[in-house]
């Protein structure tokens, strides 16, 4: 299974879970599976055109998906997906 790490902001929309397990596939299919279980999540993560919102960062095994294949990035068993808000300066 794939583990999706849910950010604190979204947890109350995901049954207060820190992690949700989904089946392998791609980042896009993982978001769809999350949406099937927790209705409305997709629209919080994706803009109306279906792209990941600019204010959202998605990592697969600690690598930003924009350096991989974006939503087409493949996910194999054991992979970890992290969703977090974009970073402020420091």
């Amino acid at each position: 299974m794939i583990q999706i790490s849910i950010p604190p902001t979204l947890r109350r929309f995901c049954g207060d879970q820190e992690n949700v397990a989904v089946a392998p596939g791609t980042v896009a299919s993982a978001i769809e599976q999350l949406h099937d279980r927790f209705n409305g999540i997709r629209d919080r993560l994706l803009d109306p055109q279906g792209n990941v919102r600019g204010s959202v960062l998605v990592f697969v095994n600690q690598e930003d998906i924009r350096f991989l294949q974006n939503q087409q990035t493949p996910l194999s068993p054991g992979d970890v997906v992290s969703i977090i808000p974009a970073f402020a300066g420091g």
Binding site: P8, T9, S55, G89
Partner: protein, 420 residues
């Protein structure tokens, strides 16, 4: 001023406008948009006049109504009001009529503009009842959180990339802060901190306290206007890491107009980056309104944010004001540091070299007209990034304590000065 909210009304999503209570939270639940502080400008207009400002102590808190702290500030009460230096020698070298340097290299107490944002973030954290404060940092922020937390009696955890300049590490450790070095880029440090902030409920100044924190940067803009004799500069050149400072100085100019302290004016905001981490300037130069994230590789470590949170907004501000962006190589950064030091006696850190280097390019290309006035924002002190200049500024020449040896040396350099 009310006890709980001061002149603040709510936190408001920058994307969809939904409002949230004034707590420690930073993103909209609906679209992950950043939350910003919304103010009651009508009340501020009645309270804040030029006369009122001029009657107050010379710190950033003389603009208190426009900063998101409800009561009197409790942390960093002496911060700000740094010199705005008329830089005639540098102006001549760069070929511009009028140039000033806003010198936050001497900001109190940790020699960077971060003391502005931290004093706001920690004062607000105290108001919200936090005892532990934290940050993800490229160095300057860590120094400022460590120092200001120590002075306020707060427990501090600072998270930094483990390869930072030694000066910045010692400058955090000395205050007794818990300094955690992370083996990775700032972006990776920040990702970890987003997770820690969610789990431990601390006041992370640039994570869950970000709406308050970021507003502190406006004070740099307020001061520039006041110190220029209540005038908004034609051009402001600002280094960009996340892009937040550029958007906030712009907001400061707008707010002074909004509350009636200034008449309508036009100005241009320009952004400076290092070539080794230039997602925003690359997008601006290509005419795009979005950026492609990068993996940083530059000596300007304080600007090394490859996925800048406010990049989109910084691009928008530059476009709206007709400003431009550019980037400079490591050698150009060092040259920028050197000419600022040689011409104005100001030793800036690498981000300052970036700002000077980009100003030079924008003036040379005519994007900033020769017959105009500009302000360069210098955000940190060169003593913190000594490594960047070591081996690039010549070296001492050692002699014995002998007049004869000194005169032999002088005869090599400037024989006309040697007295027979």
């Amino acid at each position: 001023m009310s006890d709980k909210q001061g002149y603040m009304k709510a936190l408001k999503c920058r994307e969809c406008g939904r409002e949230y209570p004034l707590t420690a939270t930073h993103v909209c639940e609906f679209d992950f948009g950043p939350l910003e502080v919304a103010y009651d400008y009508e009340r501020i207009r009645k309270s804040l006049s030029r006369e009122a400002i001029c009657s107050r102590p010379q710190t950033m808190w003389r603009y208190h109504e426009l900063l998101p702290v409800a009561g009197e500030p409790t942390v960093g009460r002496q911060v700000g009001y740094t010199p705005l230096v008329k830089a005639d020698r540098l102006a001549k070298r760069l070929g511009i009529r009028e140039l000033r340097v806003k010198n936050d290299a001497v900001n109190y107490p940790t020699l960077s503009f971060k003391d502005r944002v931290v004093s706001v973030a920690l004062s607000r954290s105290v108001e919200l009842g936090f005892k532990t404060v934290a940050c993800a940092s490229t160095g300057n922020l860590a120094n400022s959180v460590a120092a200001n937390a120590a002075a306020a009696g707060l427990d501090a955890y600072v998270f930094i990339p483990s390869d930072l300049e030694q000066g910045k590490i010692v400058n955090s450790l000395v205050y007794g802060a818990n300094v955690i070095g992370i083996k990775g880029h700032y972006d990776e440090v920040n990702r970890l901190c987003a997770e820690i902030a969610g789990k431990y409920g601390w006041a992370f100044v640039n994570v869950n306290m970000r709406p308050y924190y970021a507003e502190g940067s406006k004070s740099m803009g307020f001061e520039i206007v006041e110190q220029l004799g209540w005038r908004i500069p034609e051009h402001t050149i600002i280094p960009m890491a996340s892009g937040s400072l550029l958007t906030k100085v712009h907001k400061a100019y707008q707010e002074f107009i909004k509350i009636g302290l200034m008449g309508e004016a036009k100005w241009k905001m320009h952004g400076a980056q290092a070539t080794g981490c230039s997602p925003i300037s690359a997008a601006q130069k290509a005419g795009l309104d979005f950026f492609k994230p990068v993996k940083p590789n530059t000596i300007a470590k304080s600007l090394a944010i490859g996925t800048p949170a406010d990049g989109f907004y910084a691009l928008k501000v530059m476009k709206e004001t007709g400003g431009h962006s550019d980037d400079v190589t490591d050698d150009e950064i060092r040259e920028g540091i050197r000419i600022l030091a040689e011409d104005e006696g100001i030793f800036a850190e690498t981000a300052g070299g970036v700002t000077v280097g980009v100003a030079k390019k924008l003036i040379a290309s005519g994007r900033i007209a020769a017959d105009s006035s500009a302000v360069l924002c210098i955000t940190g002190n060169g003593l913190k990034t000594i490594e960047a200049m070591t081996g690039h500024v010549g070296q001492t020449r050692d002699i014995r304590p002998s007049l004869r040896e000194f005169e032999a040396l002088l005869a090599q350099d400037k024989p006309q000065l040697v007295k027979g």
